[in-house]
């Protein structure tokens, strides 16, 4: 057995172990680390196939960006608050099984049509050599043959970016569209005593007399109104008279 074959089996075994760890690990962070191992081993296989560019992209894009974002999400949730992570719904389970089978069949079909039926694609090593190397070859094919697919992919990514912006700045967008629903304030300027007059705007806690802070025992209420002065205590009407 040549060294190439041995290295390939080591890398393939690493990929599989990483993949199994991703699915089987109890802790979501360990799952992410399993995925990391898997990605790095796949990059190794790309290097063995002579496509260093894909290997480096695999590491920069998948391990350097995508997986870091997954880790962020996983890090900030407490696994004990997330029983659904371990026990999938029956529907999810069957659909994921089905999708996995479809993917497996697809890969199997690709391997069989490319090897057993000897229909090797046009991008042979000689063709890559004539294009001037891996990077140049990928660039040429991507921006000529697959230009439409590339543009559609970038459109999808663009939608994703806009969606992230919409989710990220709802207050400012709401204010621009006049749709602003509520502000959340934990301490109202009047405290919880409706007898007191509404405080002036931009009142800082320093200006508020001490007796306004007659907050009862127990957890503080979260008060949601358009602005702090529009808040009405229960039983208070717009004119400020008590029912």
């Amino acid at each position: 057995m040549s060294w190439d074959v041995i290295f390939f089996f080591v890398l393939a075994a690493g990929t599989l172990v990483g993949g199994i760890a991703t699915v089987a690990a109890e802790n979501p962070v360990h799952s992410a680390v399993g995925l990391l191992v898997s990605f790095i081993n796949i990059a190794g296989i790309f290097v063995m196939l002579g496509s260093e560019f894909l290997a480096v992209l695999q590491i920069i894009v998948y391990t350097g960006a995508v997986l870091v974002l997954i880790l962020f999400v996983v890090m900030l949730i407490d696994p004990e608050n997330l029983p659904a992570f371990y026990v999938a719904q029956p529907l999810q389970r069957y659909v994921s099984l089905l999708l996995g089978l479809v993917l497996l069949l697809e890969i199997g079909a690709a391997i069989i049509t490319r090897t057993a039926m000897e229909a090797i694609g046009p991008h042979s090593p000689a063709w890559i050599e004539s294009a001037g190397g891996n990077i140049q070859a990928i660039g040429q094919v991507l921006f000529s043959e697959y230009a439409l697919a590339l543009e559609i992919a970038s459109l999808v990514l663009g939608v994703g970016v806009i969606g992230a912006v919409v989710l990220g700045v709802p207050e400012r967008l709401g204010r621009m569209a006049g749709l602003e629903k509520a502000t959340i304030s934990l301490g109202h300027s009047r405290g919880l005593n409706p007898q007191l007059p509404a405080g002036h705007k931009f009142e800082t806690p320093m200006d508020i007399p001490a007796e306004r802070y007659d907050v009862p025992e127990g957890p503080r209420r979260v008060i949601m109104t358009k602005s702090a002065d529009e808040y009405k205590h229960p039983g208070e009407t717009a004119q400020g008279t008590r029912r």
Partner: protein, 347 residues
């Protein structure tokens, strides 16, 4: 770029690694000395002449400390995280060219470990794996400060890696290659300014990219003024808070080696790498020039640390996404336009 027997590659690798580790130890000494001068102090003076043995004393001290694992920690990940950080930093030296192929004792020797055709991207990829050291350390320590440090480190490195990557695109467009060896060779062409013939280093044709690259490099190395992940006034030591003994030292090693690599990378990309007077005649002079450039860059790092106050986190992210990345995109567009103009493909 001739082929050589594998044992020569091993010897060259060994020498480069040893020099890198020793160099790292003495960058800490240099930093402490320069920083002390900036702050009107003396720095280390007691251990050896001018405190020159201080790095060795620090290493011995750190190895003698107890290796603690906090009770709330995720044990396995806590133990592995520093190694990820260290290995990723050391790995990236393998694509830096210290010269071409030279004759030593009748053997032809390559003065680099590997000349990948994607060398520049390989450095970025190694850097992005190094981030996992910070993130996993922060999350496995079972400490809120560590967690915050890890989160900050991750977000910062993702953003500034984009800045770094985009600032390199201009160079790739001009040189037509991502191999660091080719990029160095490309910078050996000379241009005439008046009566002088100077080498066409990429800092001349890509000044904006150079500025962006330096800002990105300082942030990527988590150095002041971008040292948010380990901001001691808010987070104690960020992701390193719970580490002691040699695991702490591994983080430290990783961090300083990453700084050295960034300095080497910047010299290679923008200052012609080993180029300099007499470097064509004797390869040793080339290495000397490279070391001098690295020292200059490192002095710049320390100078920044001594001068600038720390950024706030929202300022840091705002700077990357609203200022640096748009500027880098403008740089790419301009470079592409002038490249086409030079080729006669416009108008």
């Amino acid at each position: 770029m001739g082929d050589q027997p594998i044992w020569i590659t091993f010897i060259v690798t060994l020498i480069i690694m040893l020099v890198l580790l020793l160099g790292m130890a003495y960058t800490t000494w240099v930093e402490r000395k320069i920083l002390a001068r900036f702050q009107d102090r003396l720095g280390p003076t007691r251990t050896g002449p001018a405190g020159l043995l201080q790095p060795l004393a620090d290493a011995v001290k750190l190895m003698g400390k107890e290796d603690l694992v906090p009770r709330g920690a995720d044990r396995k990940m806590f133990l592995w995280a520093p190694m990820i950080s260290f290995v990723a930093a050391v790995l990236s030296v393998s694509v830096i060219p210290f010269g071409g192929t030279v004759e030593i004792f009748g053997q032809s020797v390559n003065l680099f470990i590997a000349d990948l055709n994607v060398g520049a991207l390989f450095l970025l990829a190694a850097g992005s794996i190094g981030t996992y050291g910070i993130i996993l350390a922060g999350m496995s320590s079972g400490n809120r400060y560590s967690l915050l440090g890890g989160l900050r480190g991750g977000a910062q490195v993702i953003s500034y890696e984009l800045v770094l990557g985009f600032s390199l695109v201009g160079i790739f467009l001009i040189s037509g290659s991502m191999s660091l060896g080719d990029i160095v060779a490309q910078q050996k062409q000379t241009i005439g300014i008046g009566p002088f013939e100077i080498q066409n280093w990429f800092i001349l044709s890509q000044p904006l990219a150079f500025v962006l690259f330096m800002i990105g490099a300082v942030a990527e190395n988590n150095r002041a003024p971008f040292d948010l992940p380990e901001a001691e006034s808010e987070l104690i030591a960020g992701h390193m808070t719970e580490y002691s003994s040699f695991r702490f030292a591994l983080f430290y090693l990783g961090e300083y080696i990453a700084i050295l690599i960034m300095c080497l990378f910047a010299s290679t990309l923008f200052l012609g790498g080993t180029a300099g007077p007499g470097a064509d005649r004797f390869w040793g002079l080339g290495i000397l020039w490279l070391v001098l450039k690295v020292v200059a860059f490192f002095f710049f790092y320390v100078w920044l640390r001594a001068t600038l106050p720390r950024f706030r986190f929202d300022q840091l992210m705002g700077l990357a996404w609203k200022v640096l990345i748009p500027l880098a995109l403008v740089n790419v567009l301009l470079t592409a336009f002038f490249r086409l103009l030079a080729n006669g493909q416009v108008f």
